[in-house]
Symmetry: C2
Subunit: 288 residues, 2 copies
């Protein structure tokens, strides 16, 4: 692969799309953001994706670069083997053959991936999990999802739905705390704000923060029991709380380890570029 080669990479979210030209070594040489406008319906979203991808490929060529592949990440249930966006609440997708649509439009081999799984791929290979063979990436934003990455490949599952750690049963007795926890998890600014107020000793903030940490530690302990990873990487908005999250979370996880080896617990290193960079990795991995 020559140095002028790039992958056209899109990370499609419910409100915005992160788009980039990514070099084979994972470096981003150009980045753009666009609105998803999911309210216009799934067909319009697909059109927008294809138009942006095509324009990015054109931009690459205009800059003297050679687009060699396309990589697209979407949320929901994604069948990577068939290249189909099976289901997405945010985007209204139902069985959209997005890989083949984009490959036809771009005239390039294209891969379709799940946003959190490709984010985990990027963190495991280029970011905070680099150098460890077994990584669990946990993205905590408006929801919580995970990617289990072993030797540089993310587990997809039988139906493209692996890693739904947000759907596991943690603390069925803690229903009363769900709402504030959800608010914390959903709003990065609020999470940092609650963390600040908890650090300052405000009683409600202390309680809410502690309950969020305990619930998260339950989920991570479950993940560790089943996956036995070397490193857990925390990403998404809540990770911005940094040591105010990681320090108590590490202590709570430690309490829950019995005979298991305790994983290294770190925050994500790639920020919100992880999705694009992972989509590019997936595309490069899939090239014939």
């Amino acid at each position: 692969m020559t140095s002028g080669e790039v992958v056209v990479a899109l990370d499609v979210g419910g409100t915005g799309m992160k788009c980039a030209l990514v070099r084979p070594d994972g470096a981003v040489v150009h980045a753009e953001r666009h609105a998803t406008r999911a309210e216009h319906g799934p067909d319009a979203v697909v059109d927008t994706i294809l138009n942006i991808a095509e324009a990015l490929a054109g931009k690459a060529r205009a800059d003297g670069l050679t687009p060699v592949a396309g990589g697209i990440a979407v949320p929901g249930v994604v069948d990577e083997a068939r290249g189909v966006a099976v289901w997405s609440a945010n985007l209204g997708f139902r069985d959209v053959p997005l890989r083949d649509l984009a490959a036809a439009r771009l005239g390039l081999p294209t891969a379709l991936g799940h946003d959190v799984r490709v984010g985990g791929l990027a963190e495991a290979r280029l970011g905070a999990g680099r150098g460890t063979g077994h990584v669990l990436f946990v993205a905590i934003g408006t929801g919580i999802a995970a990617a289990h990455v072993v030797d540089g490949a993310a587990a997809v599952g039988a139906h493209g739905a692996a890693g739904e750690i947000g759907h596991i049963l943690v603390r069925p007795d803690a229903t009363a705390s769900r709402q504030p926890v959800a608010e914390l998890a959903g709003a990065p600014a609020s999470a940092a704000d609650v963390a600040d107020r908890a650090a300052a000793g405000a009683p409600l903030a202390v309680r809410v923060w502690r309950e969020a940490v305990e619930a998260l530690a339950d989920g991570l302990a479950t993940g560790q029991a089943l996956f036995d990873v070397a490193t857990i990487v925390i990403g998404g908005g809540l990770a911005q709380a940094g040591p105010r999250l990681l320090d108590p979370l590490r202590a709570a996880l430690h309490e829950r380890m019995t005979f298991h080896r305790e994983p290294r617990l770190v925050t994500a290193a790639l920020g919100d570029e992880a999705g694009c960079r992972g989509a590019a990795l997936l595309a490069l991995d899939a090239r014939p």
Copy 2:
């Protein structure tokens, strides 16, 4: 591989060892059972394993067969890559390099595996999961452990401790039910007995059985959220309850599925030969 080739396979449990000569196609051509006598200490257990393995290889040769590999399965934490039995409460093992000890004694390439993971390997490739790429094998005996098998390989984890589904947090509010559940899970005869009594409508048996089923369904729903398998195979003593377990368990699991595809739920097909047959598969996979 010629038709006379066999693997010397041992499945070492806390009380007994199942030992076999297994053909490359998975068929058992000879089986023996021996006492583990773990009370004599780990060194004595290792001696017993090596003596039995050597005798089995001799028996194969006497019968005109050709032993080509050794496969040993043990409980606990097993580092398959290094061939080390890291930890076993039942056998008293701490960092026993059992693979190399057995390879030296047998003069044959030998693989060391985890009892439940190789059992899952056998069920996925030769038994109840055959034909499906993503299988979760859950063995319910004196404890509960699982093996996640994708495309014929069982996930080992970073430290040889993957699949500890018995250690995940299910129903923290249900402490009162833990003891009878444990008794159920621990004693196959009792489990069948409780199932019978529950089927006959005995109130305590009905309650205990229902709680066992609900707790197990919680654990399986967690596993399905994280792994997204096509088939869940229930093995171990509790599986002997058959439809009295599977029918209510399938209903309880169905209630817990949201957007996930529901896995096929079946009982194990290979009985207590799964460990030996899986140890043999592991040995054959590892052959240079």
